[in-house]
C-alpha cells in the first residue's frame, strides 16, 4: 500500500498538444480513486504517467513517498490492468500470472545453478514461492482450473480475471486499471464491478481506475476525479459530486439520466434573485449571489415530480418504463425536461397529454460561465 501524489502534473505531446495540465491529486493509502471523463479528457494519459508508460512533461509524481518521474515502470511498484487485458497469447494463464515475478527472479545464470547447489536450491525455493503466490491469487479469483489454459481458450470475463490475477500476484503498492471492464457485456460488467469492489476491500490496496462510464465510477470509487480537456474539474466522493457539482460539466456528466438545465435571465426579486425564462419564472434560494446576467438552474430528473401546480407546464413526449421507475420526457416552452418518476405515477400519464412538474428537491444554480453559485 502506498500514497500516490501528483503535483502540477502535465503532459505536452510533440507538436504542442496539451493532453493534461496542472493535475494535483493525493491518492491516500488504500483508497479506490476513479478518474472519469469523456474521450480525450486526459484520464488515461494521467494513469499512464503514473505507470511510467508516458513521460511526464511537467510536475512530479510520487508513489510511496518516492518521486518516480525518472523511474522505469517495473521499478515503480505498480501493477496495471489494461483495457484489452494484454495477456501474452503464447503463454498459459499460470505463466502469464507468474511472468512478472519470474523476470525479477532471473538474476542468475543456468551455469551458476549447475555449479552452485546452494544457489540452485535458492532458485528452486523462489520458484516455489512464485508458484504459491500464483496459486493464492488464482484461488482468490476462482482461476485455479484455468491455470494450464491458453488465453485464447478463455471467455472475456475469464481473461479479465486473469489480468487482475496477474496484477495481484505482483503484490504492488498501487494497482492501476485502464478501463478494464469496457470490453465486457453489460451484465458481466456489473458482476465484475462488484467483484473489484470486494477485492479492493479484501486487499486494502491503493487503486487508481480509469473509466469513461460515470455509473462505473460512482459504483466503485471512494473518490472520483472528473476530468475534461486535460483539466481536473472536481475531486470528491460520489455523493459530493452528485449533490454538489462545482460546474455544469460535472453536473451533466455525473448522474443518469443527465441533469436538466433551464437557462434564463437573472433579475431582482425583492431582497433576492429570480430566474426568468420564456416558459416561466422562479425565485432563487435566499443568499445566492450571481455576478452574471444569465444563469441556469440544474434539476436532477429524480427530483422532478408531477404536481397540481408547479413551475413547469408541458406536454409528455415519451414514457420509457424501466421496471420500478419510468423516464418521462416533457416538452415545456421549448425546453426538454427528463423526469424519473415511480412507475405508478407514469401509468397515470399519456403521451401527448399536458403535465405540470414541480421540484421539491435540491436545485443547482450555475452562473453564466457554468460555475456553481452559492
Amino acid at each position: 500500500m502506498a500514497e500516490v501524489i501528483l503535483k502540477s502534473v502535465g503532459k505536452v505531446y510533440p507538436g504542442g498538444v496539451r493532453a493534461v495540465q496542472g493535475v494535483d491529486l493525493h491518492v491516500r493509502h488504500g483508497e479506490f480513486i476513479v478518474l472519469v471523463g469523456p474521450s480525450g479528457c486526459g484520464k488515461s494519459t494521467t494513469l499512464r504517467m503514473v505507470a511510467g508508460l508516458e513521460e511526464i512533461s511537467e510536475g512530479t509524481i510520487s508513489i510511496g513517498g518516492r518521486v518516480v518521474n525518472d523511474i522505469a515502470p517495473s521499478d515503480r511498484d505498480i501493477a496495471m490492468v489494461f483495457q484489452n487485458y494484454a495477456l501474452y497469447p503464447h503463454m498459459t494463464v499460470g505463466r502469464n500470472m507468474a511472468f512478472g515475478l519470474e523476470r525479477r527472479r532471473r538474476h542468475g545464470s543456468l551455469l551458476r545453478s549447475l555449479l552452485s547447489p546452494a544457489y540452485a536450491a535458492e532458485r528452486r525455493a523462489e520458484s516455489a514461492r512464485i508458484q504459491a503466490r500464483v496459486d493464492e491469487a488464482a484461488s482468490l479469483l476462482g482461476l485455479r482450473p484455468l491455470l494450464q489454459r491458453m488465453p485464447r481458450e478463455l471467455s472475456g470475463g475469464q481473461r479479465q480475471r486473469v489480468a487482475v490475477g496477474r496484477a495481484i500476484v505482483r503484490d504492488p503498492a498501487v494497482f492501476l486499471f485502464d478501463e478494464p471492464l469496457s470490453n465486457l457485456d453489460a451484465k458481466l460488467r456489473g458482476e465484475m464491478r462488484t467483484e473489484l469492489r470486494i477485492l479492493h476491500r479484501r486487499l486494502g490496496a491503493t487503486m487508481m481506475y480509469v473509466t469513461h462510464d460515470q455509473e462505473e465510477a460512482m459504483g466503485l470509487a471512494d473518490r472520483i476525479v472528473v476530468m475534461k480537456d486535460g483539466l481536473v474539474q472536481q475531486i470528491g466522493s460520489p455523493s459530493e459530486l452528485y449533490d454538489r457539482p462545482v460546474n455544469r460539466f460535472v453536473a451533466s456528466f455525473i448522474g443518469t439520466p443527465t441533469m436538466n438545465f433551464i437557462e434564463g435571465d437573472v433579475e431582482r426579486d425583492g431582497n433576492g434573485l429570480a430566474l426568468r425564462w420564456p416558459g416561466g419564472r422562479i425565485t432563487l434560494p435566499v443568499g445566492i449571489t450571481l455576478a452574471t446576467a444569465r444563469a441556469a438552474i440544474g434539476i436532477r430528473p429524480d427530483t422532478l415530480v408531477p404536481v397540481a401546480d408547479g413551475p413547469f407546464r408541458g406536454t409528455v413526449q415519451s414514457i420509457e418504463f424501466l421496471g420500478d421507475r419510468a423516464d418521462v420526457l416533457v416538452e415545456s416552452s421549448g425546453a426538454r425536461l427528463n423526469a424519473r418518476v415511480p412507475t405508478d405515477s407514469a401509468r397515470a400519464m399519456r403521451e401527448g397529454e399536458s403535465i405540470t412538474l414541480g421540484m421539491p428537491g435540491l436545485v443547482h444554480i450555475f452562473d453564466g460561465e457554468g460555475q456553481r453559485a452559492e
Binding site: A51, G52, L53, A72, P73, S74, I78, A79, M80, F82, Q83, N84, A86, Y88, P89, H90, F99, G100, R103, R104
Partner: protein, 286 residues
C-alpha cells in the same frame, strides 16, 4: 463474377499442379534411367518416358559416391558445409530481421522513417551489382575461402524480411509491449520473450525462404569458397559436368539433385501450416 463450379476448379488446379510437378517427375524418371536412355532423353533422341523401363535404384548411391574426387567424401563434406552455412544463415536472418523489424515498428527514434525508406530501397539493388564490391570487401577482410562471407551478412538483416516483420509487429497490440515493460523487461527482453514468439508465422516464412535460398545458392559459395572440401551441395553438383561443360552422366546429376532438393521439400511440408498461415495473413495483419 459468378464462382466457378467445384469440379471445374478442381480440374483447373489439377492441370496447374501437373504443369508444376512435371519437371520434378521428369527428374525422378531420368534419375532412374540407364545412362544410355537418360542421355537420349536429354538430347531429344528419345521421347520422355513417363516411367523408367528398368528403374536403376543404384543410380542414387552411385551419384552420391561420385560427387567430388573421392568416393562419398565429397558428398559428406558438401552436405556438412551446406548444413552449417544454411543453419547459420537462417538463424542470423531470423534474429536480425525480427530485431530490426521490431525496432522499426515499436521504437521511436529520430530518422526512423528515412532509414526505413533507405532500407526498402536496398531491395531494388540486384545481387549482381553488389557482388564485386562485396568480394573486394571480404577479400580485404581476409574472409575469402571461409564461410564468413556467406554467414556474416545474414546477421545484418534482410530488407524484405525486415519489412515483413515490421508489418506484422505493427499489428501486435501496444499494450502487450507495455505489459512486458511493467513486468520488468527492457526492449531486448520484450523482443525475445514476447514479440519473437508471436511472430511465428513470419518466422516460418522467413526461415523456409532463407533455407531454400541458401541451400540452393550456387553463386555465393562458388565465388567465396574455392577448395573442393569447402564446397556446398549446390556447387558440388557441378562436378557432374565434364571438362567441356557438357553432361556425361545426366542420370547421376538428376539423382544427386533430387537428394539435394529433399531437405527443402521436407522442410516445406513440415512448416506448411505456419507457412501458408503467414502468407494468408500477407504478414500485414495480426
Amino acid at each position: 463474377m459468378k464462382s466457378l463450379r467445384p469440379w471445374f476448379q478442381s480440374a483447373l488446379l489439377a492441370a496447374g499442379s501437373v504443369v508444376f510437378l512435371f519437371p520434378l517427375w521428369w527428374m525422378v524418371v531420368v534419375s532412374l534411367e540407364t545412362p544410355k536412355r537418360a542421355g537420349a532423353a536429354m538430347t531429344g533422341q528419345d521421347g520422355v518416358a513417363l516411367w523408367p523401363a528398368d528403374p536403376q535404384w543404384g543410380n542414387y548411391a552411385e551419384a552420391l559416391a561420385e560427387m567430388g574426387s573421392e568416393p562419398w567424401v565429397g558428398f559428406v563434406n558438401a552436405l556438412a558445409n551446406s548444413i552449417v552455412v544454411t543453419t547459420l544463415v537462417v538463424i542470423g536472418t531470423v534474429l536480425s530481421s525480427s530485431l530490426v523489424g521490431f525496432a522499426f515498428a515499436r521504437l521511436r527514434w529520430r530518422g526512423r522513417g528515412a532509414l526505413f525508406t533507405l532500407m526498402l530501397a536496398t531491395m531494388m539493388l540486384p545481387g549482381q551489382v553488389t557482388l564485386i564490391p562485396l568480394f573486394l570487401l571480404f577479400r580485404g577482410l581476409g574472409w575469402i575461402d571461409t564461410i564468413l562471407p556467406l554467414a556474416v551478412p545474414a546477421f545484418f538483416g534482410n530488407a524484405f524480411f525486415i519489412f515483413m516483420y515490421r508489418q506484422f509487429i505493427l499489428q501486435v497490440p501496444e499494450s502487450l509491449v507495455e505489459a512486458a515493460k511493467v513486468d520488468g523487461h527492457g526492449w531486448l527482453g520484450i523482443w525475445w520473450t514476447v514479440i519473437l514468439p508471436l511472430c511465428r508465422p513470419v518466422t516460418a516464412i522467413c526461415a523456409v525462404f532463407t533455407f531454400i535460398g541458401t541451400w540452393n545458392d550456387f553463386m555465393g559459395p562458388l565465388v567465396y569458397l574455392h577448395a573442393e572440401e569447402q564446397s556446398t551441395l549446390a556447387v558440388a553438383l557441378n562436378s557432374f559436368r565434364n571438362q567441356y561443360g557438357g553432361l556425361d552422366d545426366v542420370h547421376l546429376l538428376m539423382a544427386a539433385s533430387l537428394v539435394t532438393m529433399l531437405p527443402c521439400i521436407l522442410l516445406f511440408i513440415a512448416a506448411q501450416r505456419q507457412f501458408v498461415e503467414g502468407l494468408a495473413r500477407g504478414a500485414v495483419k495480426g
